[in-house]
């Protein structure tokens, strides 16, 4: 899969709504969003807190099912699947990276990476081998048997990236991946995501930082109050220099 092959749609949301009923009130967290994500794209979902981007991410990541509308993952309508089928598809096609890393504290770094493969029924030797390779990929092969609490935030997030790649998913869904990291380690994590994107993985970045979204994503979906506010596209691709400039800006902004 080459980057920029826009012909195949990996994720499609058709008029997706997610409502929460709280007594008499209806909270419309996501209210009629339609969008398409092509294979190999680097997409950002942008919005302030309360904009519904977390709910949108859960829907895109098939962690949640919509109240109305349809979600197609790789051509299959997942809005109608039962929990277990949803879990299987999610484990196979989507890799998650969370703001708070979400590693399992009782398992070592390598075991955390092995976990998604276990739920796909892959035998333990293959799991071990793949996990070792992925730990090398994120440059943590010397930390394989460490527990999460023995790792720094940046290292934990890299373990999480390795885990997200365990089943070689089509899509990597990153929810504020740099939110708990300082700028420097945040940049390292973003570089890993870019590398993955260059290798053909579809990346969906959920963030509230416009700079981060614009610096890395091909397409930015701006959400506000559960609705799609605007879509901005990188014209002819952001130049490498432009990206660098944006990154510098972010540096200053953080300081």
């Amino acid at each position: 899969m080459k980057k920029g092959d826009k012909n195949s749609i990996i994720i499609e949301l058709k008029n997706v709504c997610k409502y929460y009923y709280m007594g008499e009130n209806v909270v419309k967290a996501v209210d009629g969003i339609s969008l398409k994500v092509n294979k190999g794209e680097f997409v950002a979902i942008m919005g302030p807190s309360g904009s519904g981007k977390s709910t949108a991410m859960n829907l895109v990541g098939s962690l949640d099912v919509p109240t109305k509308g349809h979600i197609f993952l790789d051509g299959e309508d997942i809005s109608t699947l039962n929990e277990s089928d949803l879990a299987q598809i999610r484990g196979k096609k989507i890799g998650f990276i969370f703001q708070s890393f979400n590693l399992i504290p009782n398992l070592t770094a390598k075991e955390n990476v092995m976990l998604p493969m276990m739920f796909q029924g892959i035998d333990i030797f293959e799991r071990d081998q793949v996990a070792q390779e992925l730990m090398k990929l994120v440059e943590l092969h010397d930390r394989m048997d460490h527990y999460p609490n023995e790792l720094s935030g940046g290292q934990r997030q890299r373990v999480a990236i390795a885990r997200a790649l365990a089943n070689d998913p089509e899509v990597v869904l990153a929810d504020e991946p740099t939110g708990n990291l300082d700028t420097k380690t945040g940049n390292i994590v973003m570089e890993f995501l870019e590398k993955l994107n260059q290798k053909g993985k579809t990346i969906i970045l959920v963030t509230h930082e416009p700079e981060l979204a614009q610096a890395h994503a091909d397409i930015v979906y701006w959400l506000r109050d559960g609705k799609l506010e605007k879509v901005t596209r990188k014209k002819n691709g952001w130049s490498k220099a432009g990206k660098e400039k944006l990154r510098q800006t972010k540096h200053k902004g953080d300081k």
Binding site: L63, A87, Q88, R90, F96, F98, L107, M118, Q120, I124
Partner: protein, 405 residues
Amino acid sequence: MFSDYFILAFKNLKHRGVRSWLTLIGIFIGVTAVVSLISLGNGLEIAVSSQFGITQTELITIQASGATAMGPPGESVVKPLTIKDLEAIEKISSVKIASKRILQNGKLEYNDRLIFGYIASVPSGKERDFIYEQLNSGAIAGRLLKDSDIGKVFLGYNFYIDKAGLEKKIIPGKKVLIQDKEFEVVGILEKVGNFMFDNAVYMNEKDMEDLFNFGEEYDVILAKPVDKKEIDKTKEDIEKTLRRTRDVKEGEEDFEVSTPEAMIKTVNEVLAAIKAFIVIVASISIFIGAIGIINTMTTSVLERKRDIGIMKSVGARNEDIFFQFLIESSLLGLVGGVVGALIGTLIGVFGTIGIANWLAVDIKPSVDIMLIVFTLLGSFIMGGLAGIAPAMSAAKQNPVDALRT
């Protein structure tokens, strides 16, 4: 896949806090109680069976009892067996031989120590042979008594190995004071394996009458049936005869005729009742233990809500989560079972050795492998049963909510 659940569950157990382990005390105590008391019970059963097992299966014991308690309180209400009863029994055609035994509590002095114990009479003539035959033991040192012996005794085995409380062993030829009168020890009886026999002093009837002056009243009459298979019929004959000689109606007997089988049956009934009680008590503590596990697992589900969310986000199906928690709960039960079985077995073994030493009888501690296997299996299954509800609630967690915690 199942081995993976076990590995994950094991890892989670390893990281459990002390608080979680404490909730295992219930099941641990329950299992300890069951295992230790059942192994002790086995020891006791062996002990009791061995007490009655000594060639006495063809012996009928006749004792006076207080069934017709008509005298005022304080007076001896037991009408003792007399020579008249003995003679009547001897005349019964199905009785081969009958003999009286007198048992008295008396004091014995030796090595400047004073102890109280049983003194048993040894009859003379043919009856002597009958009694020796019943003991089924010879002298381990010295000799047993003869009709012509006066002022002489032989002693039970425990005097010989210094277990009678005198702090010095007695060997044949030594002199002891019984009821302040001097007697010569002519021999030691071989070990019988019965607490009473091994601790008793044996004395000719004549000497004993001089000491205690019991006249023609006896404590026990022993009778041997002509045909061992007809022992129950012989028992009925004796009862019929005694009702006549002692002038009592059926159902109002002031005596008791018992066969060893009946005694063993009674003892076993008592043991069974004790065991049943123990099992009930243990069941209650295991039930409490199960509630402890439910509590621990429920807490664990809440504590690990986030982990559940993570696992679901990386592809865990509901059943994956369910089985993982279920197996964890089962293992928790098993841990309680293992510790309980271990300590219970130790208590059983050392308790049995303790009883053996205390009663100076021969009981070998026995470890019942099947009991342990069933206990472990039971505690594993019980842990699983206790874990069903928490595991179901874990499996039902919504991944979005679980991740938000």
